[in-house]
């Protein structure tokens, strides 16, 4: 006789399948010797509907009870069917509906998009999108659009890498503009033109439908309006004249000014300070639309000669490195080639 017990369909007498804390147990049946084909020949659990393979998991016999532990916790809302085939007896089937998750509050936002400035060079290389909470992977490109002033979308402006360039915690996505539309002399640039045209206005639009790491939509759509200036192919330089030196005895910030905005992420860790007693420890801040690098030491400045050490891998917005342009025009006279890995900027603290 069949009886309905909750969502569970069981035989009134004989074996039954129970699920408790995500673990499946065959009760009312004494497990004997391991069958030649393994326990999976007797008990299988299926998640989802239709013709699906059984759940991965491990079988054990605990106090005579055949037990199945799924490899992963069952996701909320899953429809689960367990089938037990006792040797010589009729099959026993039980259906379980895993509780649906409570509706998720839309709380995750785009915290900031770098560069902060609203004037980007026509050969802008990348954007960093910072989120207030971890995002979900694998669906980015549908949600990021570059819109012209008339609201039409620029086709394929970005390098749509399937793997998506996230940081470890899914808090920051790096978006590269398609280098095939930036690098000069390529068929793709001739065919499609640049993604960004000088003198025009654009909006970076990030859709609210993008799901965060919990599966909730974003709290708001995000829009960043900007206009496009000329392409920048001038390698950035650093010199003592760009330094605002602090005074001895205090912990005021040392400031390195750049004549144009620099790459926000690289500014965080491409610059170090050494002084009379060696490497300085302190906190780094980036200000004024990424044109200022500020260093606040943990200990007060003392008078003497210091050096700011800048790695030449530091890039501006167009991917020009310290001392080397993003794309080197080999027809141009090369006036300066920087091959060293760092550039030193000396300054005095008085």
């Amino acid at each position: 006789m069949l009886a309905l017990a909750g969502a569970e369909l069981v035989l009134a007498e004989g074996p039954a399948i129970h699920m408790d804390g995500g673990v499946f147990r065959v009760v009312g049946w004494q497990a004997g010797a391991l069958p030649a084909a393994g326990w999976s020949a007797l008990l299988s659990v299926y998640a989802g509907v239709g013709d699906v393979p059984p759940l991965l998991g491990t079988y054990s016999v605990e106090a005579g009870t055949l037990t199945f532990r799924p490899r992963f916790s069952l996701s909320p809302g899953m429809h689960v069917r367990a089938v037990f085939q006792p040797p010589g007896g009729p099959p026993v089937e039980a259906v379980f509906e895993i509780a649906k998750a409570a509706p998720l509050a839309a709380t995750t936002r785009v915290a900031h998009v770098y560069p902060s400035t609203d004037i980007l060079p026509a050969n802008q290389l990348k954007l960093y999108i910072y989120f207030s909470a971890p995002m979900g992977r694998g669906d980015a490109w549908r949600h990021i659009r570059l819109l012209r002033e008339d609201g039409s979308a620029v086709a394929l402006p970005f390098l749509e890498i399937a793997q998506e360039l996230w940081d470890r915690d899914n808090l920051r996505l790096t978006v590269l503009f398609d280098p095939g539309r930036i690098k000069r002399g390529l068929a793709s640039l001739a065919e499609a033109g640049p993604a960004l045209e000088q003198g025009k206005r654009y909006t970076l639009a990030i859709s609210r439908d993008w799901l965060d790491g919990r599966g909730a939509v974003l709290a708001d759509e995000y829009r960043k309006d900007f206009r496009v200036g000329p392409a920048d192919r001038t390698p950035p330089e650093v010199a003592t004249g760009q330094v605002t030196a602090p005074q001895a005895g205090g912990t005021d910030a040392l400031v390195l000014h750049f004549p144009k905005p620099m790459d926000y992420a690289l500014l965080q860790h491409s610059i170090a300070v050494t002084g009379p007693s060696g490497a300085m420890e302190g906190g780094v801040a980036v200000a004024s639309d990424e044109t200022e690098w500020r260093f606040t030491p943990h200990q007060a400045w003392t008078a003497g000669t210091y050096r700011i050490i800048v790695q030449t891998t530091l890039e501006d917005l167009a991917g020009n490195h310290i001392g080397r342009a993003f794309d080197v025009d080999t027809f141009d006279r090369v006036t300066k080639v920087v091959t060293q890995e760092t550039v030193d900027v000396p300054f005095q603290v008085q």
Partner: protein, 352 residues
């Protein structure tokens, strides 16, 4: 001219290699599982971008597969999701590769999409049976890549393509910070002292502009006993680079043999021979699957004028739409993971 896919090692060579590896058995904890590649003797390489490492797994799968086999698993992503106790939209199939010895298929999957996603490696047989490759006690070796992510540093290098050739694992990656183009060549068996210094790959456009050019995907091949890689840059050109030039610390400029046009991002490439001729099959993000002549690759004059949109002749295979991953299955078939909607099929198709 002789051209062949290097992973198709003959069995006797494979067994010789197997005796030489001696990787210790133990538990492998992957932080992520992305690009996959097979090396000698059924060694599976797994690119772990989050863990900043390449892990070699002896998947103990060296029984030669039957000739003329085929495989079809419809809705493979839905089936995998069911095995992992979740919905199909909660998994990401990262890569699929074929073991050149057994012709079993290995699939890297992420269960979950958030930062807490769990990597899983699965095996699919020609009969369509899917099983998990257990990592609790498996012969393995790994090598760390430099600059692994730390709590206070968000830099991460995403491994976009992984291949084995001539005793080295080649790793193409893309940084989420600096625009660099390091291709790593890591000797295998891994040696602690040599993690494979980066090789800077440059693109010379029409002899005028030089830029760093990250490699998105590549395939090794052999011409006249000289191994080269055929590589697709993120900026679209298709180039050849002799492997002998890929030395630690070198700056290498690929020879452009084709420009495949805007929006056409190569995803996977294979090299094969049919009717005595050599071909390259390439899956692209926007323009379907392309078949290129692989004959006389080294004989093509490098593209030097902007008017030449393509160097090597190619045709588009109309019957293959929505191909996301591609690998060589055997001498007659390719393996594809394809689908234009939410459901993905894993199947063999005759080499065109």
């Amino acid at each position: 001219m002789k051209l062949r896919l290097l992973t198709g090692l003959c069995l006797s060579a494979a067994l010789t290699f197997a005796a030489g590896f001696n990787m210790p058995a133990g538990k492998v904890t992957l932080k992520s599982a992305g690009a996959l590649a097979f090396g000698p003797s059924g060694i599976l390489f797994v690119g772990d971008s989050v863990g900043a490492s390449i892990v070699a797994l002896d998947v103990d799968d060296r029984t030669p597969g039957p000739a003329g086999a085929s495989l079809e698993i419809k809705g493979v992503n839905e089936k995998i999701a069911a095995m992992l106790g979740t919905a199909a939209d909660q998994i990401l199939v990262q890569d699929v590769v074929v073991n050149p010895i057994s012709h079993n298929v290995y699939i890297s999957v992420s269960r979950g999409r958030g930062a807490d996603a769990v990597p899983v490696i699965l095996r699919a047989t020609a009969a369509g049976k899917l099983t998990e490759v257990p990592l609790d006690n498996i012969k393995n070796a790994s090598v760390s890549l430099p600059d692994s992510p730390t709590a206070d540093r968000q830099r991460m290098e995403t491994i976009t393509s992984l291949k084995y050739a001539d005793g080295r694992v080649f790793v193409a990656g893309l940084s989420n910070e600096e625009f660099s183009s390091s291709l790593r060549a890591i000797p295998f068996p891994f040696q602690t002292a040599d993690k494979g210094t980066g090789i800077e790959i440059w693109h010379g456009s029409h002899g005028r502009f030089e830029t760093q050019a990250p490699v998105r995907t590549f395939v090794p091949y052999e011409i006249n006993h000289k191994t080269s890689i055929l590589a697709a840059y993120t900026c679209t050109p298709l180039v050849t680079i002799p492997v002998s030039e890929l030395k630690s610390g070198a700056k290498v400029k690929g020879t452009t043999i084709a420009e495949l046009g805007n929006g056409n991002k190569p995803l996977d490439m294979i090299v094969y021979t049919k009717g005595g001729k050599h071909f390259i099959l390439m899956a692209n993000s926007k323009r379907g699957v392309m078949k290129l002549s692989g004959d006389n690759l080294e004989g093509y004059a490098p593209i030097t004028k902007q008017t030449e949109v393509t160097g090597v002749p190619y045709e588009t295979i109309a019957s293959l739409k929505g191909v996301q991953h591609l690998d060589k299955f055997d001498d007659a078939s390719a393996l594809v993971l394809m689908g234009e909607g939410a459901s993905l099929d894993l199947r063999t198709v005759p080499l065109p």
